[in-house]
């Protein structure tokens, strides 16, 4: 879990995380906008190509493995749900109707789901957690909120190890490991007992001091940010300008 980040020399990994997050949010907005179906298809293909070329076909298109069942369900159920538009197929005395509007909406949903899921995946594969949190801080995300999220993420492996240890100890005692509740309550007790320890550590680290904080990690300088921002704005422009000129 959350061991997403993969070192890669490709453009998407080298892009400044601040420029990347703006580009990705803009593309998510385009995916949810009423753009032409061909535009949506081209954008989805583009995102797939970027992912496959950056991380390899197998890893780059990994999210589709989990989403495949959902895609099939959408393709099977959604076309019958919309009855307006030109009728293409009618069965059982108009009980089941497939229209062009229904087919278009189904395609839109599948393309949007594929595109946005892959965009999120690309962002987290190509961005280190530290960079992501520094990006949030750059956009005035409160320090305590960033601290909370980053520390919570760092605690997940510790709690995961504790959960497996609890299950293993139950196995050694000859108790059933299929019953999830005893292990869950054990894990919750263990986690709650960590609260005073963590609170003391946070106090020792001076988390609530008023003096300015230093950071081990810094995002790249302004020149790189400006160049990457320009690149991002170009891609956003390609997607938006045709609609603005209409």
């Amino acid at each position: 879990m959350l061991n997403y980040h993969q070192e890669s020399g490709h453009l998407i990994s080298r892009l400044d995380p601040r420029a990347k997050i703006i580009l990705f949010i803009a593309l998510v907005i385009v995916f949810f906008s009423p753009v032409h179906l061909l535009h949506l298809t081209a954008l989805t293909v583009f995102v797939c190509l970027v992912s496959a070329l950056s991380f390899g076909i197998r890893r780059g298109l990994k999210p589709f493995h989990s989403l495949a069942v959902l895609f099939i369900m959408i393709l099977l159920l959604q076309p019958f749900f919309i009855r307006n538009g030109r009728v293409l197929l009618s069965l059982f005395n108009n009980f089941i109707v497939i229209t062009d509007a229904g087919l278009e909406m189904t395609l839109r949903i599948v393309l949007r789901l594929a595109g946005v899921s892959l965009l999120c995946y690309i962002y987290f594969v190509s961005t280190e957690l530290n960079q992501f949190l520094l990006t949030l801080r750059f956009f005035r995300f409160p320090f305590q909120a960033a601290l909370m999220i980053s520390t919570a993420i760092r605690y997940i492996p510790l709690l995961g190890t504790a959960y497996h240890q609890i299950r293993d100890s139950r196995k050694l005692l000859g108790l059933s490991t299929k019953k999830v509740f005893p292990a869950l309550s054990g894990l919750t007790v263990y986690a709650v007992k960590q609260i005073p320890v963590l609170a003391a550590n946070l106090e020792c680290k001076g988390v609530f001091r008023k003096n300015p904080r230093s950071s081990y990690f810094l995002l790249p300088g302004r020149r790189k940010l400006a160049l990457d921002m320009l690149f991002s704005l170009c891609i956003i422009g390609i997607n938006i300008v045709p609609y603005l000129l209409r």
């Binding site: 879990m1 959350l2 997403y4 949810f32 990994k62 999210p63 589709f64 989990s66 989403l67 069942v69 959902l70 369900m73 959408i74 159920l77 959604q78 019958f80 749900f81 909406m105 189904t106 949903i109 949007r112 789901l113 946005v116 899921s117 999120c120 995946y121 987290f124 305590q144 601290l147 909370m148 999220i149 520390t151 919570a152 993420i153 605690y155 997940i156 510790l158 709690l159 995961g160 959960y163 999830v180 509740f181 869950l184 309550s185 894990l187 919750t188 007790v189 986690a191 709650v192 007992k193 960590q194 609260i195 005073p196 963590l198 609170a199 003391a200 946070l202 106090e203 988390v207 609530f208």
Partner: protein, 179 residues
Amino acid sequence: MENKTTIQHPAFKIASLIICTGLAALVTALVKFPIPKTNGYFNFVDALVYFTGFTFGPLTGLIAGGIGPAIADIASPYAIWAPVTILAHGLQGLIAGMIMILFRKKDSPSLIAYVITGLIGSVLMVGIYFLGGSIIEGMAVTATQIPFNLLQSIGGIVLAIPLCKAVQAAWPPVRQYRF
């Protein structure tokens, strides 16, 4: 043993939020109960969200209940659901905490309090997932998920009650961790 002033320190509140968020994320991603002969599974996130609201109060319920499962969504191929998850589970935790405040006079809340929490929490969670899912994956597919979401939420409240009692019995100071 920590006293009242220490517990009310901001570091203690942040520590509670961190642990509850991490726990909620882990439980969403790891602790699963497979549904036989299907590809699906139930997870125990609702039980954890209700537990957080009951034990730590509405604010921790809202923040940890919303962000924890959203982190798990972001770490999976279902990242598109993260905003919906924040809203649905965050409000679930908020409701759980608020109802416990209403019934705080008694040492241990009555069954009615749990039933009300379960009803409001389930309706909110299922409603928000339905609205969000309709935009993301279309109304047809989202409608098929309503019974599973409802069952998971009701199962969550049923599990949260013994979970609260078990944790309070094993670690009595947790009764003071309400912000």
